[in-house]
């Protein structure tokens, strides 16, 4: 297990390293000059020159990349805005704030949104999927399957405004979505996020309903499940002990991917409900050609996805004894 974690962590670091190079090159491929964006209306060539120098953009790309890596690992005191301890992504071109600090400010919003949503869509999705598989062929199954089909073809930018219009602005049943810190007041944290959770989890849950149903039905046709029935185990026991265990593999795989990408920022959901999470930060960094912020968000999101992948692979070994971690 330790060897596995070590090996996979090393692999993740290599991937992040390669990703940062690609991001760097792409940035310099962009037809926009971040200095020009900052320079304002009274831009003179001298000002521009000066800005280029301050931002370090007058150095060669490899040189800039070297400085970036150095700052990231060791931190830096060389910024005009102040000291920047590791992991240092530098200061945002746009807001002049420390990138790491900004990330950490936005992270709780994304984490709250993701974890709350994940709990909802797992409970609803897997619950309905299991019920549909258990009652296969009945009206309940058909209703759930059809419902999941309809919902999964919807989008957050349709369901989100719809929920806002009906549940918030017309009936005033719920308050307008907003992020309140959990530590300050758990109750307002909860009520502020409930609509985003419901909308986010509805879309995701419908996919989990279909996946749980189909993989349970597939598992129930396995020979070892029939053996368990043939030795007198009850339908319920076989369903939950034998078929469910096998269904976990595809579910855990997809869940790892979903969780990782949501933690990296749920862009549409965050925009729809005006929540300033990591997803919004990512889009803003692109709008403003904000290289430090862009790299920060990108590498942070990638780290989340890689971490979730490692956890998923470790979970495989726990679920299926045939999987060996090495």
């Amino acid at each position: 297990m330790l060897r596995f974690l070590l090996r996979r962590s090393l692999g993740a670091v290599v991937i992040l390293f390669l990703l940062s190079i690609v991001a760097f090159l792409l940035f310099f491929g962009m037809p926009r000059d971040p200095a020009l964006l900052m320079c304002g209306k009274t831009c003179t060539p001298a000002n521009l020159e000066n800005l280029h120098h301050v931002l370090g953009l007058d150095k060669s790309i490899p040189e800039q990349y070297g400085i970036f890596l150095h700052n990231l690992v060791l931190g830096s005191d060389g910024f005009a805005q102040g000291p920047c301890p590791a992991p240092c992504f530098g200061y945002s071109y746009h807001t002049n704030e420390q990138v790491w600090g900004t990330l950490m400010d936005r992270l709780p919003i994304t984490v709250s949104l993701t974890l709350g949503g994940a709990v909802c869509f797992l409970v609803i999705g897997l619950g309905t999927g299991l019920i549909a598989a258990w009652k296969r062929g009945t009206l309940v199954d058909k209703t759930f399957t059809a419902g999941a089909m309809v919902i999964s073809s919807m989008q957050i930018y349709f369901l989100g405004p719809l929920a806002l219009a009906v549940l918030v602005y017309q009936t005033h049943l719920f308050e307008k979505p907003a992020y309140h810190e959990f530590t300050a007041d758990p109750a307002t944290w909860f009520t502020g996020l409930i609509i985003p959770w419901v909308v986010l989890s509805t879309i995701f849950a419908s996919q989990y309903t279909r996946m749980a149903r189909s993989s349970m039905i597939e598992q129930l046709q396995e020979e070892h499940v029939r053996t368990a029935r043939a030795k007198g185990m009850s339908r319920r026991y076989v369903f939950f002990r034998y078929a469910w265990r096998g269904s976990l593999i595809p579910i855990v795989t997809i869940f790892g991917i979903d969780l990782g990408s949501l933690l990296g920022g749920a862009i549409i959901t965050e925009y729809t409900f005006g929540l300033p999470g990591l997803g919004r930060l990512a889009v803003e960094s692109v709008f403003f050609s904000d290289l430090p912020l862009l790299l920060g968000v990108m590498l942070f999101s990638a780290t989340m996805i890689l971490l979730c992948n490692i956890v998923v692979d470790a979970a495989y070994a726990y679920i299926d004894p045939r999987v060996r971690l090495a």
């Binding site: 185990m233 299926d320 045939r322």
Partner: protein, 346 residues
Amino acid sequence: MTPAFLSVRDLHVSFRTEDGVVRAVDGLSFDLDQGKTLGIVGESGSGKSVTNLTILGLHNPLFTTVEGEIVLDGQELTTAHESELEKLRGNKVAMIFQDPLSALSPYYTVGRQIAEPYMKHTGASRKAAWKRAVEMLGKVGIPHPAERAKDYPHQFSGGMRQRAMIAMALICDPDLLIADEPTTALDVTVQAQILDLLKDLQREFGTAIIFITHDLGVIADMADDIMVMYAGGAIERGTVREVLRSPRHPYTWGLLNSMPRLDSDLSTPLSPVPGAPPSLLTPPPGCRFHPRCAFQDRVGGNRCVTERPLLAPDRASACHLTAQQKHTIFIDEIKPRLRHGQEDTA
């Protein structure tokens, strides 16, 4: 005459599929006495496995219709409630399957899977059941059973897995064991070991066995009686000696004739039964075998096409040829082609 331990009467099993209704078993009757072995032979799709899954009620009730009677030790099974069948399965009637790798769950230890039915049926504690599982593993010839019980199926070899399956099937000392091609997936040396093991255990526990196979050599070794199935029905039945020495159905002749023999000239090609098994969606009229039968012209009045021959209750074959015809055709035309083999097998 006391009623047989297991008695199947006029069993019909059909599945609803998208293409129509498949009559997998169509009017099957047979008996099995306590402690005896019935061998069921037939091609794939002849209804062997379906019959036996139906005995245990393991067919999918959504798509399957079952008619007829299955009486086990005085209890009618086709109409029995699911909870009654659950008490029976793994307890009074146990089953072993063809491929022990896919028939054992990869997610639980061998010991746990063997112990489960014992806990369920005897109410034994987890610890007592585990002890019994280890004991059974030892009995089926697994070395170091206490350690091996903690292994997962993928850590066992094919032969050991089948031994573990047998241990699991016999842990509650069943009266009837249904073995669905238990040696087909194993290599030949292991096959012989498993067959010996089954015979030893049958002697020890007095279990009746239904042995499904398409290997006539295996059946000659294992069974007391043979039932040959074709297209969902029995076409010939008798003791091993009778059926293998003087078979009376053209299909059985074909089966015997298609067996490769080591003592024959290796350059002679195998002689399979010509044609393919009929579709069970639209079975041929009259005798199910007539499209592949070389002897139908010897039956008068086109009866093979118009009338389905029935299997008489005693030693019999479902064929319109007269007893005399069957006898002479076998002696004069079939037996010489079998190359002095049958006496040895029977």
